[in-house]
Amino acid sequence: MNEALTLLSFGEHGWGDTIAIGALVTVSLALASLPFGLALGFLLALAKKSAEPSLKLAANIYTTIFRGLPELLTLFLVYFGVQIGFQKALKLIGIETYFEVNSFVAGMFALSFVFSSYASEAFLSAFRGIPQGQFEGGQALGLSRKQTMTFIILPQLVRLALPALGNLWLILLKETALVSTIGLADLMREAGIAARVTKEAFLFFGVACLIYLILAIISSTGLARLERWSKRGDTAR
C-alpha cells in the first residue's frame, strides 16, 4: 500500500505530476473540441430542419458518415490522411519534406467531427420541441430572422438541448482516450508509460480509470447546475 502511495506521489519518486499533466491534456483536448463541435452541430441542425431537400440531404450524409465510422478509424483517417495529403500536395509543387500533423490538432478535429454529427441530432430534436408559434410570434413583433433566432429561439433551444448535449460531453471526455494511440501525451498515455516503467499496470490504469470517473462526476454536477440555470425561467411561473 505504501509503495503504491510513493509511486503516485508528486515529485522525484512518484508519477503523480506526470499523470496530473496528462489529465490536464485530456481535459483541454475535450474543451478544445467542444466549441467547434457545437458550432458545426448547430449549423448541421439548421441545415437538417430547412425546407430545402438538397441541404437536408447534404447534412444527413455528413451525419451518416461520422456516426457510422468507429471513432478510432476517424482519428486515423484524419491523422494520416492530412499527413499524406499535405505531403502529396507539397510534392506537386516540388517540395519533398516530411510533414507531421500535431496529434492534439488531429485529435481535436476528429473528435469535433464526431461530436458535431451527434450534436446536430440533439439540436434537431430540441428544435422540434419549440412550437412554430415562437417563430411566428417573433415575426409578428417585427424582429428579423436573426433576432428571432438569438433572442427567442436560442434561449429555449439551450434549455431543451442541454440534457442530450451533456451526455455527449461525457462521451467526448471518454473518447479523448483514443488520441493517446496517435501519440498525444494525455492521461491514458502517461498512465501507460508509468505502467510500463514501474510494472504496476493495474495500479496506474486503475488510477487512470478513477480520474476519468472523477472528471465525469465533476462534469455531471456542473451540468446539473447548468440545467438548473437554464430552467430558472420555469420556476418563476
Binding site: S54, G192, A201, Y212
Partner: protein, 275 residues
C-alpha cells in the same frame, strides 16, 4: 348543399416555380461536393480493386471482418446474460444489492473502454501468481479473451440500464391488471411485462449493437487482429492510405446495413402500436 360537378371544378393551380434562395444554392453546392467526392472515392476504389495491395491483403480483411463479428456477437450475448441480474439488482429495494449494481454500472459507463481494456489486459499480468493458482492465467494471458471479458462487462452495464429503463417504462397498471387476473409475479414478469419492455428497448438495443461494432475497433490496440487490427497491420507494412479507406467503407457498410435492418425489424415488430 350544392354539388360541384367534376367538369366545373377548377384544376389545382400550377406549383410556383422554386426560387434560388441562399439555402438552395448552398444545398446544391454541398451536394455537388459530396457527389464529386463520392464519385472520386468510387473511382479510386475501382481503379485499386486489382492493385497488389488488394490482392495481397483482401483475405486478411475478410479474416478481420469475421473476427470483428465474433467479438461483437460474443460480447453482446454474454453482456445480455449478465445484464439481467445487474438490472434486477439495480432495481432492488435493498441497498446491499442496488448500491454495488449502481457502482458497477457507473464505473463501466463512466470510464473509457480503452482504459478498461488496458486495465484488464495489462493489469492481469500483475496478478499472475494468483491467477495461476486458480487456473485463470491461461484465460487472461490471451488478448482475445481479455477483450471479450472487458467488452462483455462493458456492454452488460449499458444493457442493464436499457433493460431497467424499459421495464420501468411499462405502466404500473399492467402489474396490477395481471395481479387482478391472479397471475403470479414471475408469470407476470415474463409473460406480460418483459415483452412490452423489450419492444420499447428495441431502439436502444440497436444503438448499443452499433456502439459495440464501433467500439470493437479498440481491440486492435491490444494486438487482436480484428478488422481495424488487420487494417493497421496492412498500413504499417505498406504505408498505403487505401488501407484505411477500405476499412472505412467496410465499417460504414456494416453499420448502415445493421441500422436499416434494425429499423425494418422495429417497424415490423411494433406495427400493432402504430395508429
Amino acid at each position: 348543399m350544392t354539388v360541384v360537378s367534376s367538369d366545373t371544378a377548377l384544376p389545382p393551380p400550377p406549383p410556383l416555380p422554386r426560387r434560388w434562395t441562399k439555402a438552395r444554392i448552398l444545398g446544391h453546392v454541398l451536394m455537388a461536393l459530396w457527389i464529386v467526392s463520392g464519385a472520386s472515392l468510387l473511382f479510386y476504389l475501382v481503379t485499386n480493386i486489382n492493385s497488389p495491395f488488394v490482392q495481397k491483403y483482401w483475405p486478411d480483411y475478410v479474416d478481420g471482418f469475421l473476427v470483428t463479428l465474433q467479438i461483437v456477437s460474443v460480447s453482446l450475448l454474454i453482456g445480455a446474460l449478465l445484464s439481467l441480474p445487474i438490472a434486477a439488482a439495480r432495481a432492488s429495494r435493498w441497498k446491499v444489492l442496488s448500491a454495488p449494481a449502481y457502482a458497477y454500472v457507473y464505473f463501466f459507463r463512466g470510464t473509457p473502454l480503452l482504459a478498461q481494456t488496458f486495465l484488464v489486459y495489462y493489469g492481469a499480468g500483475g496478478f499472475r501468481t494468483e491467477l495461476e493458482a486458480i487456473g485463470l492465467w491461461t484465460f487472461f494471458r490471451e488478448a482475445w479473451y481479455c477483450v471479450i471479458f472487458t467488452f462483455s462487462l462493458n456492454t452488460s452495464a449499458y444493457q442493464a440500464e436499457i433493460l431497467r429503463g424499459a421495464i420501468l417504462n411499462v405502466p404500473k397498471g399492467q402489474w396490477e391488471g395481471a395481479a387482478a387476473l391472479g397471475l403470479s409475479q414471475p408469470v407476470t414478469f415474463f409473460k406480460v411485462i418483459l415483452p412490452q419492455a423489450l419492444m420499447v428497448a428495441l431502439r436502444p438495443y440497436g444503438n448499443e449493437i452499433i456502439l459495440m461494432i464501433k467500439g470493437s475497433a479498440i481491440a486492435s490496440i491490444v494486438t487482436v487482429f480484428d478488422l481495424m487490427g488487420e487494417t493497421r497491420r496492412a498500413y504499417s507494412r505498406t504505408y498505403d492510405f487505401q488501407a484505411y479507406i477500405w476499412a472505412a467503407v467496410i465499417y460504414l457498410m456494416m453499420v448502415e446495413t445493421l441500422r436499416r435492418v434494425w429499423d425494418r425489424l422495429e417497424m415490423r415488430l411494433t406495427r400493432h402500436l402504430k395508429r
